[in-house]
């Protein structure tokens, strides 16, 4: 094979390897990016929604306390009652939406348990509210009816938030591990390909240099017309081989010239 063909082949090989590596890396990056996008769009969003619902539930409880504290004033009663019902509806809607989107069975069950506990709590708030309004705003009696009743749903939702946060942490850790694995694979493949190309280049260059060295030795002897016993054993179909064949002709011509001169 011609040296030029070998060098072109080596260059094309390098371009193909680098191109292939680049395409593979882009593909790996896309997979990684999709993984992070999925994490943001699903798990992180769910954890965030859970935290929002958790806060809204606490606001609902706070609105109830506002009713008891300030409900003796008709304007305040109307205001805080409306705000309480708004928060109540909001919490239910948020918890229902979350229970529809969460796939993890244990967390979903916790959400369903929360919804059931919240329904029970709503009925108790309703009864306590009637007692409060009809009992001349006796906040102590009303409070007694629901005191501590918000604890079970609060605990349930705290568990939901904790589980979803843990799920996000697990997914982030998995994504990081995947990123490290892909980085290591890319480094290994790039290193192996670089080594392969270097070895191929070294073999090609060393082969050419060795044969050129032998040609130089022949050429040095021809320069001195020292052709006696000169052996030009440069094989191959490349440029160096062709040059060696030409030198064989030159050597024969010098030998013939010396023979003519000798006669």
């Amino acid at each position: 094979m011609k040296i030029s063909t070998k060098l072109i082949g080596l260059s094309v090989g390098c371009v193909v390897i680098v191109g292939g590596l680049a395409v593979t890396l882009v593909g790996e990056l896309r997979t990684l990016s999709n993984g992070y996008n999925n994490l943001l769009e699903v798990e992180v969003r769910q954890a965030e929604a859970a935290r929002v619902a958790q806060v809204d539930f606490k606001k609902q409880v706070q609105e109830w306390k506002d009713i008891l504290l300030r409900g003796h004033n008709p304007d305040d009663l109307a205001k805080y009652t409306q705000q309480f019902h708004e928060q109540e509806a909001k919490v239910k809607a948020e918890a229902q939406a979350l229970s529809g989107s969460v796939e993890e069975p244990a967390t979903r069950q916790l959400l369903l348990d929360f919804l059931a506990a919240d329904d029970t709590l709503s009925k108790k708030y309703e009864a306590a509210y009637s007692a409060y309004v009809n009992g001349k705003f006796d906040f102590k009696a009303a409070d007694k009816m629901v005191r501590g009743q918000d604890r079970p749903p609060t605990d349930l939702f705290d568990k939901v938030v904790a589980q979803l946060t843990q799920l996000v942490e697990k997914r982030v850790a998995a994504q990081e591990a995947e990123a490290i694995r892909q980085r290591n694979t890319a480094l290994f493949v790039a290193g192996a390909l670089l080594l392969l190309v270097s070895l191929l280049g070294f073999v090609v260059v060393k082969g050419v240099l060795m044969r050129l060295g032998r040609l130089k030795a022949v050429s040095d002897r021809l320069a001195k017309a020292d052709v006696e016993g000169l052996s030009i054993d440069i094989s191959g179909n490349d440029e160096v081989g062709e040059f060696g064949q030409s030198l064989q002709g030159v050597a024969a011509a010098i030998e013939e010239l010396l023979a003519i001169a000798a006669h």
Binding site: Q245, Q248, G249, V250, A251, A252, A253, E255, E256, L257, A259, I260
Partner: protein, 59 residues
Amino acid sequence: MGAQIKGRYEDVGREFGAVGRMKLAMLTKISSVKAEEIPDSAANLKLMDDAIAELRKTM
């Protein structure tokens, strides 16, 4: 060995002189000295004859 090849050299020497002999050696890569060491094989004789024909075209 190589008597016929050597004979070709003598013919070329008579026809084209020393330059012809040198060109023949260049084309065949076989000098008249080497001719004494190699056999008069059909391949070698054909190589010589083809080179002489080439010489006749150019000289």
